[in-house]
Symmetry: C2
Subunit: 192 residues, 2 copies
């Protein structure tokens, strides 16, 4: 009865995610998003409300795809230290090498959009969930004898969340590969 849409919202989200990730929220203009996604301005507004709404959708997509993959083993029943280390190796790779130094999209948005309550609420909840996930793994590590029982796993879990953000910002800081890799390795040595 009516003219059908000429674009795929899933593609819009995927393409917009890459744009926001690479250039930041402010650096990805609406005009360029229209060009890159192949959708119409009107269509994007109808589907996502406004630019912030589109960003939120891309962040959800980022968690459900990129982060979901990175945390796969971390979410396993018996996950402990090896799974944590594997997670960080993957994060380090994605943040710097797979994206040419774009960092972590969640971390980037968390900083750039701190003034936007809608985004901030979501990113903060994500990092809180991540912290609890780390703590669970650390607890398992203690139960399995991988980690000394006197270690403060709550403090350690907060540290690991901070490390994710640290890795992201360092990936974006264009240090030498040597400096970056050394940073990661030393940072993870606290889990020994």
């Amino acid at each position: 009865m009516a003219r059908p849409r000429n674009f795929d919202p899933d593609i819009v989200v995927e393409v917009a995610m890459r744009a926001f990730w690479e250039h930041g929220y402010a650096g990805a203009s609406f005009d360029k998003l229209v060009d890159d996604t192949g959708a119409s301005r009107h269509g994007i507004y109808q589907e996502f409300g406004d630019k912030t709404g589109l960003l939120l959708s891309t962040l959800l997509h980022y968690e459900q795809t990129v982060l979901h993959k990175l945390t796969l083993e971390l979410r396993g029943e018996k996950a402990a230290l090896p799974e944590i280390r594997q997670f960080f190796q993957r994060v380090a790779k994605v943040a710097r090498y797979d994206t040419e130094g774009a960092g972590c999209f969640m971390c980037n948005s968390h900083i750039e959009m701190e003034a936007e309550p809608q985004i901030r609420e979501y990113t903060e909840s994500f990092f809180q969930r991540l912290q609890r996930l780390f703590r669970r793994c650390l607890s398992q590590a203690q139960a399995q004898g991988e980690l000394e029982p006197e270690k403060n796993i709550t403090a350690l879990s907060h540290y690991l969340v901070g490390l994710v953000r640290g890795i992201s910002v360092n990936a974006r800081s264009n240090p030498s590969a040597k400096a970056y890799d050394a940073y990661i390795e030393v940072a993870l040595s606290v889990l020994k």
Copy 2:
């Protein structure tokens, strides 16, 4: 013979530094800088060239004042581990508590202005100098028996530079004071 200037360039730099630090380069508009500094638009352009030139001047000022104070003992002849720890305690305090979570101005600018060669050249050189300073202290620490001789002090120094950026971004991420302090403490535990 000519009308004298009605503003103090030193005050302009100091005030602009606070504005850039708190709101970022893009977030501190020229109009607001004119208002806050009390200088004239014309005067600022004549003195600093353009907005980027003003930013560069504020970064130099930041290094000569804030950072100079933070690294005072670190630059001492016999500086070693205690001086490094003191430096990070100070950085952690400034980045979060003294500035209401504005982070480190050098780190912020390093990230936000990565596309501006003039700024990038300067911030990169700063972090390089900082890395060498750390390595010197770590070397002293080994000489004084504070640090095990088999430790890779080059890797450690790269880690410490990465940690400065990590502290900055975490200070801006509004974690709880508990989470932030835990992050700092665990991060520094690698120096034990």
